[in-house]
């Protein structure tokens, strides 16, 4: 199996996730797009672990999974708090500062 298979798939997922972060207005949808980006990165790490024969890449993929779990927990708690205060989670209505 070619290494570029995994790497190109991860690049496509990463680009789709970046598009989602830019295009989406709903905060929960932006968090989902960030999950796509994180998964693309850990797919790369696992592919490189297979390529080099060392398991270090898999160790880091597990770290990425743990960090993503923490990030989603805190992110959704923040979204809930914003929704409770403003009755909306549209990100373009969140600007407090002028300019």
């Amino acid at each position: 199996m070619l290494a570029v298979n995994f790497l190109l798939l991860a690049a496509a997922l990463f680009a789709i996730g970046v598009y989602g972060v830019i295009a989406r207005r709903n905060a929960v949808m932006v968090l989902m797009s960030i999950e796509l980006i994180l998964n693309a990165v850990s797919l790369n790490l696992v592919a490189f672990a297979l390529m080099t024969g060392a398991v270090d890449g898999q160790v880091f993929a597990l770290y990425v999974i743990a960090i993503a779990a923490a990030e989603v927990g805190v992110g959704l708690a923040m979204v809930l708090m914003i929704y409770r205060n403003r009755k909306s989670i549209a990100l373009d209505e969140l600007s407090e500062m002028k300019g």
Partner: protein
């Protein structure tokens, strides 16, 4: 170039076919995640992408990471997402204002990013063939975790604890 390598003896054809099918499903589902008009449908399409990633981990001989992916992402993170959607949304069904006003800017950014990444990847790893290895024993992973990666392992435990406490403090009504 690729066709020649595909015809070589040391490339597993069944593995490539499986990879291609799963990758096509994953990219279709990822596009649905960022384009669908229904938030709940986006979460369910994200389940398809995450399952595909777990299948790719198994193809890449990383069983333990695949199992962790299923447990943590599909089991825990998706439940969190569905709760987040249910607690923050008023209407069920299609929404018309899910995208920003400048959403079209994302298309060229995504295309240029993918083009650059694909160019660099093909330039650097165009001919590299992954070795046909068996499943990675979990013992070797745990050896790494408990020897040279022990300090990051402890640090990430504190990060998870801090995130759990922080989420409770942020989300509770007082």
């Amino acid at each position: 170039m690729s066709a020649v390598i595909l015809a070589a003896d040391d490339v597993n054809v069944a593995q490539n076919v499986g990879f291609g099918i799963i990758a096509a499903i994953m990219i279709f589902a990822a596009l649905k995640v960022v384009t669908t008009k229904n938030v709940v449908h986006a979460a369910l399409w994200l389940v398809v992408v995450l399952s595909g990633i777990a299948a790719q981990y198994i193809l890449a001989a990383a069983e333990f990471v695949a199992i962790s992916q299923v447990l943590v992402y599909i089991g825990a993170v998706m439940v969190l997402f569905l709760f987040g959607i249910m607690l923050t949304r008023a209407q069920i069904g299609k929404e018309s204002d899910l995208n920003n006003k400048g959403w079209a800017l994302g298309i060229p950014v995504g295309l240029v990013l993918f083009g650059l990444l694909a160019w660099v990847i093909l330039d650097a790893f165009g001919d590299d063939i992954l070795p046909d290895s068996g499943p990675t024993p979990t013992v070797s992973l745990s050896d790494q975790f408990l020897s040279i990666y022990l300090v990051p392992f402890l640090a990430i435990s504190f990060v998870l604890l801090a995130a759990a406490i922080g989420a409770i403090v942020l989300a509770r009504k007082d």
